[in-house]
Amino acid sequence: MTTWLVQHLTAMRDALRRLFGAPLNTLLSLVVIGVALTLPTAGWLAIENLRAVAGDNPGVQQISIFLTLDAGQPEIAEIESRLQQARPGSWRYVARDEALKDLRKSAGMTEIIGSLPKNPLPDAFIVTPGDVQPESLELLAKTFASWPKIAHVQLDSAWVKRLDALLRLGKLIVVLLAVLFAGALVAITFNTIRLQILAQAAEIEVAKLIGATNSYIQRPLHYFGMLQGALGGLCAALLVSTGSHFLTPPVAELAQLYGGSFTLQGLSTTDIVALTAIGGGLGWLGAKISALIHLRRIS
């Protein structure tokens, strides 16, 4: 147990010494790994933020049911009872007179409405569905439209669907980017470790001749790959956080111009830890593969 611990500590120290022994090399590797991890991370963060915008807007998930102008109280009661049976979520009834009153309050509308000979607005139900999946919203709207005395069912799902499709596409692109750049990180580490093995061929040969196990030789290389990857992950987190820090004020300003309030969410502590862990894991993988392949050539 103590021997095991000593060997791991020694390997870790060895790896750290090698990392800081060639600061320029290390810095360049970290920048490359950092940039490689930044792109998918930034993409992921953008998708997460967009999803937050889409999810926060309650107006999106409403279905308006407009009745025909000749619909009277019995028809309204009929719709009401049908809604009670269908249980689509919550709803409220907006009478045509009430709607007109509301409209009159809006700026500049009083005169226009005053000039109208009679109330042009229909009676309406506004449904806030419990299930906000675009597919189920679509289904609900279809059901409502099939009921009697319904003039129009309005669902703002067109753009919800578009946004959803866009988010899904964006997610896919981020996943592809992530796979691509994960491969790059593994390749970078693979090459770094290959160069190290070449540089230390004499040392490795001697160590093996006097009783070093393969684990003894590989351990510092694994640690090196892991540390380099983890530090690269931290670099990426730093880059993304800096980027989102600079983007936050203009995004808030833009949101305000559209009458909303929205703050760009940066990376959380968990995200940073995860990014570091992913970087470390990929670096370890690259080092492991490289060590397996290149150490075989040194007898």
Binding site: L209, I210, G211, Y216
Partner: protein, 209 residues
């Protein structure tokens, strides 16, 4: 051929170039594997040794290579620390242990030096220090006095004899007649892959031929 070396013995493997001294050295250290026959060290048959057991066998042997295989980018002390690091010796105690090994071979004051600044004899002593720092029961040396002047060669030999006197088995492959004349040890002569024992100076114990 067949031969046996008992614990605590000092044996010279001799024969002219190409006789197979180095091959025998490599077979004993499991650097090369036998195609047939058996080599038994401490009851362990090297021919049947699994690959991943080889490092643990080598740790029990103090190996001194013909080309010394010193690491020239490390200090003398770091060279001696390497075997301790390999077996996972406590880091705090390692320098003291390495320093003791250096003292035993007469290099107590060269710890901070780099091997390139050492003379041939000193480099050889460093190679011995590295071989014995883990206190092996067996020392195997391949041509330890090659390219050394007579005085240095004798010093090296005295070091080996000191180890033998404290119970370490010492096997030296050499073709240096000077050494043999001086110590009058048991000599195994290799010739064309055949083994013979021309001068059985000390009691030849346990030989099967």
């Amino acid at each position: 051929m067949s031969f046996e070396i008992t614990a605590g013995e000092m044996v010279f493997l001799t024969g002219h170039s190409g006789a197979g001294k180095s091959t025998l050295f490599k077979l004993l250290a499991a650097i090369e594997r036998p195609t047939s026959g058996t080599i038994v060290i401490n009851g362990q048959n090297l021919a049947a040794l699994r690959r991943n057991a080889i490092p643990y066998l080598r740790r029990k042997l103090g190996l001194i290579f013909q080309d010394r295989k010193l690491l020239f980018d490390r200090t003398v002390l770091d060279n001696v620390l390497l075997p301790l690091s390999i077996v996972g010796h406590p880091v705090k105690d390692a320098p003291r242990r390495a320093q003791a090994a250096l003292a035993k071979v007469g290099l107590p004051n060269r710890a901070k030096a780099f091997p390139i600044t050492l003379s041939g004899g000193e480099q050889q002593r460093l190679a011995i220090a590295r071989a014995v720092v883990n206190r092996p029961a067996v020392i195997l040396a391949d041509e330890p006095t090659a390219n050394l002047d007579a005085a240095s060669a004798i010093e090296i030999l005295e070091i080996f004899r000191a180890f033998q006197q404290v119970g370490v088995t010492v096997v030296i492959a050499t073709h240096d007649p000077l050494l043999m004349a001086r110590l009058n040890p048991r000599i195994l002569r290799l010739d064309q892959g055949q083994m013979s024992e021309p001068l059985c100076a000390p009691a030849a114990n346990g030989i099967a031929s």
